[in-house]
């Protein structure tokens, strides 16, 4: 005996077309919301459009907002419609009609949301590739490097509690000032010489972890001059909250003049620095300290690293 198919509830006489009554306001509201998001809100979305990475992030956020708004509006519209139309009337003690599945609606919902999710997955991957990693650290062997030609290399060195910057193409000088040229690809090499930090240049849309012993590469091309806020985005100790500074983007000519001046001005201290490298081995200093101890030279408080290092308090 064949199983009996569940009976569809008979449509009540005079029942309005609820689907249409929900669809029309949803469509209007979605179009209005998406136009507002794209035209009015998008130019003000973080992190701005100062660099290629920032502009791409802003574009990506706007795309996601445009996609998400109709979904959110559909849920809210249905919610409001249900509250208004299907609410229990005063004096009505009857149970509501039994709820049955609607295959067409369920299938439509699953297909639509799947399409959106799959589109975002493909879109995100394409955006990572075409936007040179979208400002994120790509590790030591970056693969998202399209269009990056002749970049200015800037090494970012995190240390408790300050970032310093080395410019290997200008003699390898190191400074606390972050100065970058416009209209030039910048290749950040982010590392640390103590604990884990994170280099976050907000207006550039660049955020890359600074790990000791790791060269983390990120790209950005700056479109216009201005101030750059740099913060550490990884809890790194007592003064983590104060580990910030301000860089600036200047014209290529101004940058070149600044870099040449800094190279000359800092020549003496550059001689003290280790040769430029993608990472710096922190064990060099302890080894030196052992030599100092062997030579009878005392450091605070008598030893650099006791044999029990790293002992936790």
């Amino acid at each position: 005996m064949a199983a009996e198919a569940p009976a569809q509830p008979p449509a009540a006489a005079g029942e309005p077309n609820h689907g249409l009554r929900i669809f029309i306001p949803w469509l209007v509201l979605s179009v209005v919301a998406d136009l507002i998001i794209w035209i009015v809100w998008r130019p003000h979305m973080p992190p701005g459009a100062m660099s290629s990475a920032a502009a791409n992030q802003q574009f990506d956020i706007a795309i996601m907002a445009v996609l998400a708004a109709p979904v959110m509006i559909l849920v809210l519209t249905y919610f409001a419609y249900a509250l208004i139309v299907w609410r229990q009337k005063p004096g009505d003690e009857e149970d509501g009609p039994a709820i049955h599945g609607n295959t067409r609606i369920q299938a439509t919902w699953i297909v639509l949301t799947s399409v959106i999710v799959l589109f975002l997955a493909v879109f995100g991957t394409v955006e990572l590739f075409t936007a040179q990693g979208s400002g994120a650290g790509e590790g030591g062997s970056p693969i998202f490097t399209s269009d990056v030609k002749g970049p200015l290399q800037v090494q970012v060195i995190g240390q408790q509690w300050r970032f310093t910057y080395r410019y290997p193409q200008y003699g390898g000088f190191e400074t606390t000032d972050l100065v970058l040229p416009t209209n030039t690809w910048v290749e950040f090499h982010v590392t640390s010489i103590d604990v884990i930090h994170s280099f976050w240049a907000y207006q550039l849309g660049v955020k890359a972890d600074a790990n000791p012993g790791v060269d983390n590469v990120a790209y950005a091309k700056i479109y216009h001059t201005g101030s750059i806020t740099v913060r550490c985005a990884e809890l790194c100790g007592l003064w983590h909250g104060a580990m910030f500074d301000y860089g600036k983007a200047v014209s290529p000519a101004a940058f070149h003049a600044w870099a040449q001046g800094a190279e000359v001005h800092l020549a003496a201290v550059t001689k003290l620095l280790p040769p430029y490298a993608l990472t710096y081995d922190p064990t060099v200093v302890p080894q030196m300290s052992k030599a100092m101890v062997a030579a009878g030279l005392t450091g605070a408080p008598g030893l650099y690293y006791p044999p029990t290092d790293p002992a936790q308090p």
Binding site: L238, W239, D245, L272, A300, P301, G302, D309
Partner: protein, 233 residues
């Protein structure tokens, strides 16, 4: 349980909670090191000169961490050395710093901090001789640094001439009774910012022995190797 017993228990529990809260507030929020006031009697934003005096010691025998390296600040009124790293200066003033360096040497993790920056003329004076940088890798030259990142100030502290000799072993050390070759006097000047607020300062030598990368313990504890310069108007 009888009613009087329940009431008594409730009162005891309430008092215990209050006591714990008071301990936390008093010990952790109000119980930090004292602030030495160098702003008293000085009109801010006039370029007036304020003389601030510190010393850095190989130990801190007046604390519960006698093996922690530590700074001390001299009280301008009493001339007594106080175990603190908090001091207050007037805004828009010239700050003449004198730091007595009693501790031995340790290499900087980053040699760039051997450079003098942010002082007037980008220079410091070690026993009266001007220096613009010290090389902590070439020998026993640098004990600590005095660095205020907020104003890009960095001054490496020179070490005693005879580092293999016994260093001062009782804190606070005394410049008047300690042999001259067992400490260095570093002086420099800078202008305090006009913007009021707390500017943290730190040492950049990894001198927190026994801690990861040498930057724990005294390096991250107020009253030892880091503190605040409070700029007031």
């Amino acid at each position: 349980m009888s009613l009087p017993a329940r009431v008594s228990l409730l009162i005891v529990a309430f008092l215990a909670v209050v006591a714990i809260g008071a301990f936390v507030v008093l010990h952790y929020f109000l119980g930090g090191p004292a602030t030495v006031d160098y702003s008293a009697g000085v009109t801010p934003d006039t370029g007036a000169t304020v003389h601030v005096v510190l010393q850095e010691d190989p130990q801190n025998t007046v604390s519960t961490h006698p093996d922690w390296v530590s700074y001390f600040i001299q009280n301008p009124q009493t001339k007594a050395w106080e175990h603190t790293t908090l001091f207050k200066v007037p805004a828009g003033s010239r700050i003449d710093m004198t730091i007595y360096g009693f501790d031995g040497c340790t290499p900087l993790r980053n040699p760039v901090w051997g450079q003098v920056t942010g002082t007037i003329g980008d220079v410091a004076y070690v026993n009266g001789k001007p220096v613009s940088q010290l090389n902590s890798y070439s020998g026993c030259n640098v004990g600590h640094t005095f660095s205020i990142p907020g104003i890009n100030l960095n001054v490496p502290m020179a070490t005693p001439s005879n580092p293999s000799a016994n260093l001062c072993a009782t804190s606070p050390c005394s410049p008047t009774t300690t042999a001259k070759n067992l400490y260095k006097v570093v002086t420099f000047s800078f202008n305090s910012p006009r913007a009021t607020g707390a500017y943290f300062w730190q040492c950049r030598v990894p001198c927190g022995g026994g801690f990861v990368t040498g930057f724990g313990g005294p390096m991250q504890t107020l009253g030892f190797m880091t503190g605040n310069m409070e700029v007031v108007s």
